[in-house]
């Protein structure tokens, strides 16, 4: 499979038993799933800080009412690019990175099925984000229509950087689709003997379903940005009523992509939590089959609920009722998952290492985000909540304390396996508690100002929201600074500082990834393990 092994050893050359290529080309030309996984995770970490800096511009402007630092047009660029960077640059690549590292190890495969595609799908990403971020320095500025780039904001009223934005989104889409295809082929074709479908670890199951969602909806995103491009530059009228088009249709097509997209960003986190909870509760996962079925049902239902993002566009009552009930139906499989996690912990011998702490915070805080989602699903109530900070609170609870906490939990959980070194528990616990407190200072008051009517995506606000906004901005700064502790902890491990980790790492850990040495050798499972 790998060509490096066939190279003859020259006299005097140091024998590297792992046959790692050296220098920058190791990373540029890498087809090794572990190297590419590392690249994805580091890229995502960098994007987290870039996206976070943009968010801090937003929070600095909102620290006080009135206009302080930036003009409204620049503020709109910040909300837009923050959203795009976090969704496509931080959360999605982090999950692909975890999949790269863990899926082959969990199913007993020597590597991903398509290693060169894997290399390509990663290296497209830095190019895509270089293009996207370069628009910040262009005349007319970056895209400012929101990450949802509704027409006509993104067509008639957008700056000329729209063309760069469209190209960047196309590249991100190509990268995601190639990554998804790779993961599907790997899971279908490279499972170790005896690794039957219903023995797959849940992280593998959730990623398989996520990958199918990706190949189903990323092409639709590609379609809608292409329509924006031709509407703006080539005189078509997909979204322009003057030529017989309809701007509302943009929202239908966008959210047909957009709603499955939000599950793309949470299903792998469900998989991570389903791996961590049994380990630290020292009990097998409760209701494995129901977890698989629940994940698949969430994925299928995600195609039927896009209308709940657009209750206020003037849909007929019948459609609003359909989307309301379909949305609420998703609470059932999601509830099954939460109950299964709780039941797994029930009478378990629990310990509270940092991965478990993040997983527990995930369950509580993600559920808060889920419940505010149910409030938003109530059509008549949504007419008040639409486009307020309540919506911002909702999706940050599911994306930050949901997806991002899930990713951080997964990183702490597998970091000793990757680096061979145990992270500093004290540093990590400090990181956890700082994050937990600051993230709630940051996002919880958004529920209140939102219900009281503070609109999102506006650089100024009414005076009665001043105190809570100042508090949220402080929370944001603290949350951002807390993540430096995370970087410190990760860098320590990458440099090999800390206690040596055992092969199993965690007392209660189950699964093939814990059967190999720590740190995981460069090549693993060259002879497939037999799963009983």
């Amino acid at each position: 499979m790998s060509t490096e092994q066939t190279g003859a050893l020259h006299p005097g050359e140091h024998l590297d038993h792992e046959h790692k290529p050296r220098g920058i080309t190791r990373w540029l030309y890498s087809t090794n799933h572990k190297d590419i996984g590392t690249l994805y995770l580091l890229f995502s970490l960098a994007m987290l800080f870039i996206g976070g800096s943009l968010a801090m511009v937003i929070r600095a402007e909102l620290f006080q009412p009135g206009l302080q630092f930036v003009d409204p047009h620049f503020f709109n660029q910040m909300t837009t690019v923050h959203g795009l960077v976090m969704v496509f640059g931080a959360v999605m690549p982090a999950f692909v990175g975890l999949a790269n590292w863990m899926v082959p190890l969990m199913i007993g495969a020597p590597d991903m099925a398509l290693p060169r595609v894997n290399n390509w799908s990663f290296w497209i990403l830095p190019c895509a984000f270089a293009i996207l971020l370069s628009t910040l320095f262009m005349e007319g500025g970056a895209p400012a229509a929101g990450w949802t780039f509704y027409a006509p904001l993104s067509t008639t009223y957008s700056s000329d950087s729209t063309a760069f934005f469209v190209l960047a989104v196309h590249l991100m889409g190509v990268s995601s689709i190639m990554g998804a295809i790779n993961i599907i082929v790997t899971i279908f074709n490279m499972r170790a003997p005896g690794m039957t479908w219903m023995k797959l670890p849940l992280f593998v199951w959730t990623w398989l379903i996520t990958a199918f969602l990706l190949i189903a909806v990323m092409p639709v995103l590609a379609g809608v940005v292409t329509m924006v491009l031709t509407d703006k530059y080539f005189g078509t009228s997909f979204f322009d009523a003057a030529g017989g088009g309809d701007p509302v249709m943009f929202q239908h097509i966008f959210w047909f992509f957009g709603h499955p997209e939000v599950y793309i960003m949470i299903l792998p986190a469900f998989g991570i939590i389903s791996a961590i909870i049994p380990t630290f509760a020292r009990k097998p996962l409760f209701g494995y089959e129901s977890m698989v079925v629940a994940t698949a049902s969430i994925a299928i239902l995600s195609f039927l609920v896009w209308g709940h993002h657009m209750f206020t566009v003037g849909m007929p009552v019948a459609a609003e009722l359909f989307f309301m009930y379909a949305t609420m139906l998703i609470a059932v499989p999601t509830g099954v998952k939460v109950f299964n996690w709780v039941a797994t912990m029930w009478r378990g011998s629990m310990t509270f290492e940092v991965p478990m702490m993040f997983a527990l915070a995930f369950i509580v805080l993600f559920t808060i985000g889920g419940l505010s989602g149910l409030m938003l699903a109530i059509t008549p109530a949504d007419f008040q909540y639409q486009d307020t900070y309540f919506v911002v609170a909702h999706f940050h609870y599911v994306l930050v304390t949901g997806a991002v906490f899930g990713i951080i939990a997964g990183v702490y959980y597998w970091l000793p396996k990757w680096t061979g070194v145990m992270y500093s528990e004290r540093l990590a616990q400090t990181h956890f508690w700082c994050s937990l407190v600051s993230v709630n200072i940051l996002f919880f008051p958004m529920h209140f100002v939102g219900l009281a009517g503070m609109p999102r995506r506006i650089p100024d606000y009414a005076l009665q929201f001043a105190d809570l906004n100042a508090l949220m901005s402080i929370g944001g700064l603290l949350f951002g600074l807390s993540q430096l502790l995370f970087v410190w902890g990760v860098v320590r491990c990458m440099r090999g500082v800390g206690d040596k980790a055992s092969d199993r790492v965690w007392e209660g850990a189950q699964g093939l990834e814990w059967e190999i040495p720590s740190p995981a050798p460069y090549h693993t499972f060259e002879t497939p393990p037999v799963v009983k």
Partner: protein, 174 residues
């Protein structure tokens, strides 16, 4: 188990199909809206004469007219509101004036609110059926002849017919 290559081919086919589906949503959207009549779009062709008049009730119809942002025309309904029995033929006039120094061609795009009532709004004659060419400074009065289909469900008592005037793609200068 299928080989990697054939699995990749199938998955790529799904991607291409979904890309096509994104574009297929454009005509599907129109067809769906026409069948269900939920988008407030009225028929672009003349309707038949009304079959009869329902004298038992009246419907209030309001009229709105707007010019597109970069359209140097004024466009107003000469009647703001009428109360008519379903089945009654009614003519209302809209006045349009080209304030610019050049000849322009315009299209008026109608919309009926509430959207579900649009299919009961029958136009026998309308300036929106064709493009309107106005010389520089010209003013014109444009008629709409319509009736409300007596099959209109009882729950609709008020309707609004609104027009938005766009510069036509056929205008040479853009």
């Amino acid at each position: 188990m299928t080989s990697n290559a054939s699995l990749v081919r199938r998955l790529l086919l799904v991607c291409v199909a979904m890309f096509g589906f994104g574009f297929a949503m454009v005509p599907l959207y129109d067809v769906f809206c026409r069948i269900t009549g939920i988008n407030g779009k009225t028929e672009g062709v003349a309707a038949a004469q009304p079959a009869g008049v329902d004298l038992s009730r009246e419907v209030s119809v309001e009229f709105l007219a707007r010019s597109d942002a970069d359209m140097p025309w004024t466009f107003v309904p000469l009647t703001e509101r009428v109360r008519i029995h379903p089945g009654d033929l009614q003519i209302v006039e809209f006045e349009v004036a080209n304030r610019s120094g050049e000849a322009l061609v315009a299209t008026a795009v109608p919309s009926v609110s509430p959207g579900e009532a649009a299919r009961y709004f029958k136009k026998i004659e309308c300036f929106c059926f064709e493009e309107q060419a106005l010389a520089a400074g010209e003013t014109r009065s444009m008629p709409v002849q319509f009736y409300i289909d007596p099959a209109l469900p009882e729950r609709f008592r008020n309707m609004t017919l609104s027009y938005r005037l766009y510069k036509s793609a056929h205008t040479a200068s853009r």
